[in-house]
């Protein structure tokens, strides 16, 4: 049997696929961050906490109200997104005229508070959330055993990512949004309510994080630290892709998932840092990120 880089091809395909699955989460989360940064110029550090809230709200809907996974997938982004709208209206909207740093500090503080509250209420060991009955079981692909749920995660993530990219880059609504960030006064003069559009954009970005949270609930344990563990990596993904670049966030999200997956095979000890090494290299060579535009 032939081998690629000292590893049987079967094992390699398996690892590539696993990388793609993790990349789905990176892509969904970095997409939300990129949308918020690209259109609002806010570095949303509470993104990880909002992802965690997504998983918890799904768990609460199931435990307290008996609402199943599929409804949660629809309702949770709306509920958590609405909480984002409230945060934007009450707090973030007061910071637009200030330096980026203030938005970062505010959202970072919010993340700590939200995580603290959940930790206090639910502890850190995590809560079980079952995989929906329709997606239990697995497919034997020959080179690996793919759980149906993981396959679903990739599909759902690709569809949502593409939909978002399409809406922002290819529709009239997206054009208005992009115009509003370039020149809010002019767009406002055309009769478009710019502040409301910005608020809804933040809500949408937060909703994306919550959606990722619901997807993650059945496979990772639902615990208050789940977002904090992930958010730093996701920020690195956004920086590599180019701050604010929608396509960059999606492509690097999936790409880095695969790179990380391969590192886990060739040098497992390095898998926690490989993304940051790439980030450092990209910043040295192309400071605006792979898909970013230099201002």
């Amino acid at each position: 049997m032939f081998e690629l880089l000292g590893i049987p091809p079967q094992a390699l395909f398996g690892q590539l696929l696993l990388g793609l699955i993790n990349g789905s989460f990176y892509a969904l989360l970095s997409l939300g961050l990129a949308v918020i940064f690209g259109l609002l110029n806010i570095i949303n550090f509470s993104h990880g906490a909002q992802y965690m809230m997504g998983a918890f709200v799904a768990w609460m809907l199931m435990t307290y109200a008996g609402i199943n996974y599929w409804w949660a997938l629809l309702l949770v982004p709306i509920i958590v997104g609405a909480s984002g709208v409230v945060i934007e209206r009450l707090m973030i909207s007061r910071l637009y005229h200030l330096d980026h740093l203030y938005g970062l500090l505010l959202t970072f503080g919010l993340a700590l508070i939200i995580q603290g509250l959940f930790r206090n209420r639910f502890g850190v060991s995590g809560l079980p959330y079952a995989i929906p009955a329709e997606l239990t079981g697995a497919q034997n692909l020959g080179f690996m055993f793919l759980p149906n749920y993981r396959g679903w995660v990739v599909v759902a993530s690709v569809v949502v990512c593409f939909g978002t990219w399409f809406a922002i880059e290819r529709t009239r609504l997206g054009a208005c949004l992009r115009a509003a960030t370039e020149n809010p006064t002019l767009v406002g003069a055309f009769g478009i309510n710019v502040p409301r559009m910005i608020t809804l954009t933040y809500g949408f970005g937060v909703g994306l994080a919550a959606f990722a949270g619901v997807l993650a609930a059945p496979i990772y344990s639902v615990n208050p630290n789940m977002g904090a563990d992930l958010i730093i990596v996701v920020f690195a993904v956004v920086v590599i892709g180019g701050m604010g670049s929608i396509l960059g966030a999606i492509v690097t999200g999936f790409g880095l998932g695969i790179v990380e997956g391969l590192t886990k095979v060739f040098y497992p000890e390095g898998s926690a840092v490989v993304i940051f090494v790439i980030m450092a290299l990209v910043l040295l060579v192309k400071p605006a990120g792979l898909f970013g535009r230099t201002a």
Binding site: A11, V124, S125, A272
Partner: protein, 399 residues
């Protein structure tokens, strides 16, 4: 006349001794993980356990003034060192207890040695604490990687799981546990076919699990703990690893982990613990009190160890009438520990607390009668068999 003087003198001495005792103020520092992956198995529960020990000892009636402080070391050795230093240098802490996360515990152990204080470790697992790194003021109370490896590792090999693959958390504890288990496995006639080290803490273990699967081993040894173990077990079941005949050996599983996994996923796991709430009437009564203060959760063996070690320490303070480290350590090593939670035990010259360990199996959902009814007892491992023999540790205190 002479008799009267003598009686008076005796009375005066007693009074003086009494007042000296009344001046004894003890400050206990509970240092552990209060927010991260080990917060449920140690955390606030350890503070509650320490407080229960102070109450049961009756410190107030004995004229010993005990204060308990706590801090979060975030599982980081540097943070743990800083807190330990501040506690000893500025805050007047006399004894540090708990300290899970081996790397953090080893760091605190060194500061403790330097300051000549007492360190009662319950939460950490590394055998180095009573081996090459053993210190005159350190007692390793509850469990260690040798005991875990010896209990679970041996039981699995005896049950026919000969070929092992390790999934190891990449820090002091994981390495130590892997090393100890490898030794037990090979000595019992098994072999180790491979291992992979994962970053700590991790979230996705599927990649490592697939490597373990393709190794063709009979059993995957999980040399990790807390959330890492929970996620590894969940994902092994998701990727059909357990269903395809490969077994999992959780080398360090706490009851809080089983609670988080749910019996559906955790059933059948074999594990080694120093304590289970449902062992006898005493442990049940104590655990009931603990639960009442902890919102219903049952104590882990780390909590039990904190209670037991603090009680033994306070007995030593009462007996020696002071806070002199050397005198206290001598007393604690000479006298057996005795409490309703961990039963009878002794402290060995290298600082190892010796007590029985238990081999449990996680019940199936059908066998369990309700929340926290999780274990059935497979075997009691006598202290002398459970822990590493004194002469094998390489502790410089043992001549």
């Amino acid at each position: 006349m002479k008799l009267k003087t003598l009686a008076l003198a005796a009375l005066a001495t007693t009074l003086m001794a009494g007042s000296a005792m009344a001046q004894t103020a003890i400050k206990i520092g509970v240092l552990n993980d209060r927010s991260g992956t080990y917060a449920d198995l140690s955390g606030e529960g350890s503070v509650v356990a320490a407080r229960m020990a102070v109450e049961d000892f009756g410190a107030a009636d004995k004229g010993i003034d005990v204060e308990i402080v706590s801090a979060d070391h975030q599982n980081k050795p540097d943070v743990a060192s800083n807190i330990a230093r501040q506690w000893y240098d500025q805050d007047g802490v006399d004894v540090i207890v708990d300290v899970p996360t081996s790397s953090a515990a080893l760091a605190v152990n060194e500061i403790n040695r330097e300051k000549g204080k007492i360190f009662l470790n319950s939460g950490a697992a590394s055998t180095d604490l009573t081996g090459t790194a053993c210190a005159p003021g350190t007692i390793h109370w509850t469990y260690d990687t040798y005991a875990l490896a010896n209990g679970t590792g041996k039981a699995m090999v005896d049950a026919g799981y000969k070929d092992w693959f390790f999934l190891t958390a990449d820090y002091a504890f994981g390495h130590s546990l892997e090393e100890n288990t490898t030794k037990v496995v090979t000595e019992s006639g098994g072999t180790v076919v491979g291992s992979v080290r994962h970053p700590f803490p991790g979230t996705d273990f599927s990649s490592f699990l697939l490597q373990a699967q393709s190794s063709g081993a009979d059993v995957i040894g999980l040399a990790n703990a807390g959330g890492d173990t929970v996620n590894s077990i969940k994902q092994a079941s998701e990727f059909g690893i357990t269903q395809s005949g490969q077994a999992l050996a959780g080398l360090l599983i706490f009851i809080t982990d089983v609670h988080a996994l749910g019996l559906e996923t955790a059933q059948g796991l074999v594990l080694t613990e120093a304590f289970y709430w449902d062992l006898n009437d005493d442990t049940r009564a104590w655990s009931e009190r603990f639960s009442a203060e902890m919102g219903g959760s049952k104590p882990t063996m780390v909590h039990a160890g904190v209670y037991s070690s603090v009680l033994h320490y306070l007995n030593a303070v009462e007996a020696t009438g002071g806070k002199d480290t050397e005198a206290l350590m001598a007393w604690m090593k000479e006298n057996p520990s005795e409490d309703p939670v961990m039963g009878t035990g002794t402290v060995r010259a290298d600082g190892r607390h010796m007590h029985d360990m238990y081999l449990f199996q996680v019940k199936t959902p059908a066998e369990s009668t309700g929340p926290w009814d999780y274990y059935k007892l497979l075997a009691t491992i006598p202290a002398e068999e459970a822990f590493r023999p004194l002469e094998e540790g390489g502790c410089p205190l043992v001549e």
